[in-house]
Symmetry: C2
Subunit: 421 residues, 2 copies
């Protein structure tokens, strides 16, 4: 990481206003394994281990010789994989004597996971939610409030960054990058307040590997190994959480899966971004990270998969992508929802808009197996349920959903604004 | 059961227009155990066994010496215990060659569970949803449509019963009793269509005992036996599903729990109803059942726990209540939501409005243990999550929720309309 002011390599102590020491240590560690504290395991027991399910009815519908498995994270109280990192983040903050945590959220999966985790450990939680989602999806906000969190629409008038953004555009719909600027500002300027991030950072991806570690054991018990591991990528934590333990096994020669990241056509960070140092937020308050980025002021079109609307990609995912350990592709949202309906009507679980991208890619793969006769084992990261996204399904069912791509001109502009370091 | 026209004991064949043979057999069986078909087990694997969780953080908040456990059914795809009977009902219908199933739903838990189960077995599903809920909670309807069901607001103009009700009151908000009349009429008049019910009947409670059977094994593995088993009662299937296997164990002398049913003050079927033969629906199309009832045309005030707004009680529950095997109590909804908030903010799971009644009663019990020093083991039936009920939480948090009781006059009238047989 580089310091946002000097562009010089960051000193770990520069992160101290934002994170407790243990999370800074985990962010920078070179250890391969870090034990999960008992207090975190105790909460994980509410929903872990999560089910690994063979999609037999979907296989039958497709008429494919492939075996399709999905690792389903939607049984967590807030409904997605985000709880896997919200709980340890809340715990390490509480253990360090922190009283308040702040964060940003888009559609609300991350904000609700952190609200859930915070109340269990007696932390106050404040969330800046992208205004478009705050207005359109009141139920995620009500969920956070039920858990005792305070939720602001972003841009808000309670931060300097928010006021500047509102002055420039009073009706701004907000973005994840803007909301991060607001939450980081509050943490940086209040001694008893720390910041939590729901993806991108090393310690977040580390916490999420509980998914892949569990899944390795579950598949071993069945006696299968995957030929393809597929996950959607926004910031990268869901994909990395499932894929990294399998990558370790591949590098050790114990299996040989392909890895496929699927991003929305409206926010194609890996497939159309550049690999460069860039800010994690719009205002340039966060450290610069070496990552695939569309530019820190890229504002993606309003697709339903709000959790995938982020300009950057986790440095760890970016790194392994550069090393050629994985592939990436982008898919339009109507294909994703068509796949989601096939999935919901055979498997019985209604996916969040984000993992519909992984499901669509898996269906492509399974149909290719039907053509070739290959009996591949396909593993899908099914990172959450769509209980708060049924308005998107309604639009699809009524034929109102349209595909959204990025504008080439907008992308050129935002790529041009990436700092030269 | 008595025939609705003649008031004479029903012949099993009288039920044939409504149910497939195997479900009629189960309704009338004297066998103690019936095997779960492999096809049903296969779907149950999506979410069963459900977790049995010790509410350690709630115990700590209350400062009680009691141990509180809850059996949580909210991990099912439709979010409640209703899937336990929706899946076998759909399966037995599909196995009998039925093409279409119809049902009613209030808040939507049952309708969504049957929509889910129907799509897995290739059945068409049509649901009559109480109009007040259809209008106020579009997300449950969208969930049913996502699974491919067709949803009508009830009263509707597509049935004779609905048209009669609309003629009497064009702006009727509907009720479960009215919606049952509509669905039963459609099944009775279409040869390829059967009716499914989400509670009350013997075969429904039988299917739900999977909850209690599982829970007995889970508690045995921990080494605890319950002193009190608490569940909410609307039609009785959630309570019976958990409690009946424990009642068997009590009668066999292997444990000695108390059983407490909790109903809403607005619909106090066990505590204020009479034990008599009454219709299951408003129009008098269903057989008469010997049950506790407030009268088949009793319309409960619009409390948030839509699933508990039913005038009758399962004959099996009514029977054991008369035998003195269980107790009943009623609680107002603001106390229930206060309890729900305490639960959500310590345990991390947001309950549906229905099980908040059981949680409120369990908290009363735990606080009584605090007073007396008793270390009771309390077991709660936590039958579903509140993802689609956050507007109710919002009302409570804003101080807008009011208590609703039944009107003594209205009750006197509806009790007077119970047929004399």
């Amino acid at each position: 990481m580089l310091h946002p002011g000097t562009h010089q390599p960051l000193n770990p102590s520069d992160l101290a206003p934002l994170f407790p020491d243990e999370l800074i240590r985990q962010e920078l560690t070179e250890e391969r394994f870090i034990d999960i504290p008992d207090e975190v395991r105790d909460v994980y027991e509410l929903w872990r281990p999560t089910p690994l399910i063979r999609a037999k009815r979907l296989e039958k519908l497709l008429g494919t010789p492939a075996k399709i498995y999905y690792k389903y994270e939607g049984t967590s109280p807030a409904g997605s994989h985000k709880g896997n990192t919200a709980v340890p983040q809340a715990w390490y903050n509480a253990a360090a004597g922190v009283k308040n945590v702040v964060t940003e959220t888009g559609a609300g999966q991350w904000g609700s996971a952190l609200s859930f985790a915070s109340t269990l450990f007696g932390l106050n939680c404040e969330v800046w939610q992208v205004r478009a989602s705050y207005d359109q999806k009141p139920y995620r906000r009500l969920m956070m409030e039920t858990w005792g969190a305070k939720v602001h629409p972003s841009p808000s008038d309670v931060t300097e960054a928010g006021r500047r953004l509102l002055a420039a555009d009073p009706s701004s719909p907000g973005s994840l990058g803007m909301a991060i600027s607001e939450a980081v500002e509050v943490a940086a300027t209040n001694a008893d307040t720390k910041y939590c991030l729901g993806s991108v950072l090393n310690h977040v991806l580390l916490h999420q590997t509980v998914i892949g570690e569990e899944c390795l054991e579950q598949l071993a018990a069945i006696g299968d190994t995957p030929d393809v591991v597929i996950g959607c990528t926004g910031g990268g934590s869901n994909f990395g959480g499932l894929a990294f333990p399998f990558m370790r096994e591949k590098l050790a020669g114990r299996m040989n899966p392909q890895f496929k990241a699927v991003e929305p056509a409206a926010c194609p960070t890996l497939t159309k971004g550049v690999y460069a140092y860039d800010y994690g937020d719009t205002a340039g308050l966060t450290p610069l990270m070496k990552m695939h980025t569309l530019g820190h002021d890229f504002v993606p079109d309003p697709i339903h998969a709000g959790g995938l609307r982020y300009h950057g990609m986790a440095p760890l995912i970016s790194h392994v992508y550069e090393l050629g350990f994985m592939e990436a592709m982008s898919i339009q949202q109507t294909e994703c929802f068509e796949a989601a309906l096939q999935f919901a009507r055979t498997e019985g679980i209604i996916p969040a808009p984000e993992p519909t991208h992984a499901i669509a890619a898996a269906i492509r793969e399974a149909l290719e197996c039907k053509r070739t006769g290959e009996e591949k084992v396909i593993l899908i990261a099914m990172c959450g349920h769509g209980h708060f996204d049924l308005a998107a399904y309604d639009r699809y069912l009524r034929g109102d959903m349209i595909d959204l791509s990025h504008s080439a001109e907008k992308l050129k502009e935002s790529l041009g604004a990436i700092p030269k370091v």
